[in-house]
């Protein structure tokens, strides 16, 4: 319980930092909108094209914007060695991981909340149904859990902007494939039962990687 309280304190601090600077949200949302517009021009917004490419475009957009957001989350801890400030405070390394994970999940979901209506408008597809919301939340949890761990690893390297995608994308690929396939089936009019296999893949990934990242984090963060 104490650990969760510390984690929420760290996540709240990240949100407050973003409110003060608006660094991540403004740049990431602009980037996301540009990606969607470019794809819209490339594939058009006919019903047939939208049905075929929309899920892929949406998850590519989420993956790229997610990377930008994840990179920033540990860069702010590296400036002035704030991460050491957290390490000498009376909380476990695991609480630090949870705090950053909660913060990253919040930001990625917030970006999705802004991007999805624009995407729906341009591709003339409604994304607001229970199945798609569930897929998005589950995939985002997996995305943020692995991303938080790798962002902590990458921040200590010189080419951190390059290292994070190189480490992150191969690991997150199963979630992206499952999310794209599940989203495509839902847009094709299929129900929860039909996508349960893909949901199972995402759910299993989430459980494994949230637990593994939580346990590994202290080894990554300590010098």
């Amino acid at each position: 319980m104490k650990e969760l309280r510390y984690a929420f304190t760290i996540a709240s601090k990240d949100v407050l930092t973003e409110i003060r600077t608006r660094e991540v949200l403004s740049s990431v949302v602009i980037f996301a909108v540009l990606v969607i517009i470019i794809f819209n021009f490339a594939f058009g917004s006919s019903e047939q094209a939208a049905g075929l490419v929309a899920p892929g475009i949406l998850w590519v957009t989420f993956a790229f914007t997610g990377i930008l957001s994840l990179n920033r989350s540990f860069i702010m801890e590296k400036e002035e060695d704030c991460i050491e400030g957290l390490m000498v405070a009376p909380l476990s390394r695991e609480a630090v991981y949870l705090g950053k994970f909660f913060g990253n999940t919040f930001f990625i979901l917030l970006i999705q909340l802004i991007v999805i209506p624009i995407f729906s408008l341009l591709f003339n597809i409604s994304f607001f149904n229970l199945e798609l919301v569930t897929i998005t939340i589950l995939a985002t949890l997996g995305f943020a859990s692995v991303g938080t761990l790798f962002a902590a690893m990458a921040v200590n390297t010189r080419a951190r902007e390059l290292v994070l995608p190189v480490l992150f994308f191969p690991v997150i690929t199963p979630v992206l494939i499952a999310a794209v396939n599940a989203s495509a089936q839902v847009l094709d009019g299929q129900s929860f039962g039909a996508i349960s296999q893909w949901m199972g893949v995402i759910g299993a990934f989430d459980v494994i990687f949230i637990v593994a990242s939580y346990l590994i984090f202290s080894f990554i963060i300590e010098e």
Binding site: R20, E23, E79, E80, C82, E84, V88, P90, E223
Partner: protein
């Protein structure tokens, strides 16, 4: 309150490089120990291990008989750390930063404590300004406030006076002496460090080079420091 320090046979290696070799020291409650040494002597590494940021390769550190890794939560709650870097978020205000750290340390009556510390360090007028707009010296003062927020029994300081003017340096030592605190600090200036300390120690190439049991004279310290530079 936990306020004694015992470091036993501490070693820390970075690959084949031995940054600390068999370092042992004891600091009694309320005592102030100054660490000196040439660049790369191992002072910062020793403080990083003592502050739980870095794990030792071998050896142990105990505060009041409690091991820093087995009882890390209790130990860290009694530890204040001032480093080369401020540990402060430049996008947040001074007040935001101190509120954040006071939540992590469970500071009771945090408003009062924050305002008291900021007043003592002459920062109250700018408490709602972003830390990024502060000068180096002001950031160092705020870093002192951050480290003393929870009234720790032990304070570890790596070059605490860097960037501070004379008045701010005086405020630092005054704040530290308000309660019985055990202090270990590094200093690049032998005279100033000697004046502030009860005991001194010189590290050279990761080993204890000079560690008199009691208070030595400044001349002895200067001679030992010169000798340590020859071995560096």
């Amino acid at each position: 309150m936990i306020n004694s320090i015992e470091v036993k046979s501490l070693c820390r290696n970075f690959g084949s490089f031995k940054a600390l070799q068999d370092v042992s020291l004891v600091v009694k409650p309320g005592e102030t120990l100054a660490l000196f040494g040439h660049n790369g002597a191992g002072k910062t590494t020793l403080l990083k291990v003592m502050s739980t940021v870095m794990k030792p390769s071998s050896g142990s550190v105990e505060y009041g008989g409690r091991d820093i890794h087995k009882d890390s939560g209790i130990v860290r709650a009694n530890l204040g750390v001032i480093s080369h870097r401020s540990f402060l978020y430049s996008s947040l205000t001074a007040y935001d930063n101190l509120v954040f750290y006071s939540k992590l340390y469970g500071v009771v009556d945090r408003e009062k404590r924050i305002k008291q510390l900021l007043s003592s360090l002459g920062l109250k007028a700018r408490m709602y300004d972003k830390v990024g707009t502060y000068s180096r010296g002001m950031q160092q003062k705020l870093s002192i406030a951050r480290a003393l927020l929870h009234q720790p029994g032990i304070v570890l300081m790596d070059e605490p006076e860097s960037g501070l003017d004379n008045k701010a340096s005086e405020s630092l030592w005054k704040l530290l002496s308000e309660e019985q605190r055990t202090v270990v600090f590094t200093h690049h200036n032998l005279e100033k460090g000697f004046a502030a300390a009860d005991r001194v120690m010189i590290l050279s190439r990761g080993k204890v080079f000079f560690a008199p049991d009691g208070k030595c004279s400044l001349a002895e310290l200067q001679d030992a420091y010169s000798a340590s530079l020859e071995t560096a």
